[in-house]
Amino acid sequence: MVAVRRRDGRVEERRIVVDKKVGDNQSEDLVTLWAFRLVRCLFAEVARGGSLSFSFTDIGGASRTQVCVSGSGVFLGAGCTDRFLFIGFGSDSTPPSRDNYGLLGELARVRAFQQVFESDLRFVIFGSWSPDSGVSVCEVGLYLSVCDSGNVARFLLIDRSVLDSCINVGAGEAISVTYAFQF
């Protein structure tokens, strides 16, 4: 969802991602729960040197807690950089492709924040940007900062979505993007 807060306080919302679902709503389905756990680890925000763990029951019935994000030189680690998410805003309206590795007309990239609702198998990522001057936003993207195998920080584009029509955002206004993952 993209929202623009106008100078008069009005908030205009536009839902642009309607079918990014990776799971279904089978609340009792084990593989959906595991898909949530794994995708949660994939997109986890972990400060440099930090870690993330989750709990599960092994096949013998023992309760286990294990780290899924930690360490240096690994994709699921934070040894070289803050493993943070970023939202990109851009001006290009070329249809998205799985070959995209960056926004095509990137205007800004801002730190995103995440909220996780484990009981609902849902998490959201959101970011907001206030341009210094008027812009037209036609594309948004989700970036992840991660460590490559040489423990060097890299930015990866995880999603690029093009708005059905560009949004004009004036100076002093704010545009925000929310990625909602529902399993």
């Binding site: 279904d24 593989v31 595991w34 807690t65 690994v74 699921l76 799985r98 995209n100 960056g102 690029r160």
Partner: protein, 185 residues
Amino acid sequence: MFVVEDFIGDSKVGEVVKLESNGNDLFTLWILRAFLSVFVPVSTGGTVSFTALDDTGASRTFKMKFSVAGTFSHIFNTYACSHFVRVRFGRDSTPPSRTNFRLLQETYVDVNTRISLNEDAGYILIEGTAIFPSDTTVCEVGLSLGATVSSYNVCGEFLIDRTVLDPCRTVPANTPYVVRYRLQV
């Protein structure tokens, strides 16, 4: 889309669709990369990597499974444990629950479960086979992962899917019964 298909001999009996396909987009590609890395088996001390373009367009290598000596506690650390996937077979027809951690009446585990990637079609296949010495009823199938489940050196296995077949399948003696998990972009 996550589909469970089952076969008796060469004949497909049916399928259970677990997840919906959401198109051929970048995000879905990332989900496939992540799942492929999770499922790919690797021996103790081994590495599983994938390559992707960073935001400058340069190709980079990222390690999903790795071996780190010492006391590095990570589910994908292969330092002391091999990582694998197994298809499991059972006879209980109790509806599945997210609290299931094993099949309820397990009769067979394929320890030679195969995994393959079809890049052109954009899916991975995980295939397990059972051959029973006598006519056997199969009502539940499952998928488990072997990994480092505690600390850096406690090896274990955990169930990530339990699917109940409706109706239960009657598998003739000495006939291959194949269960195929298909994860498709």
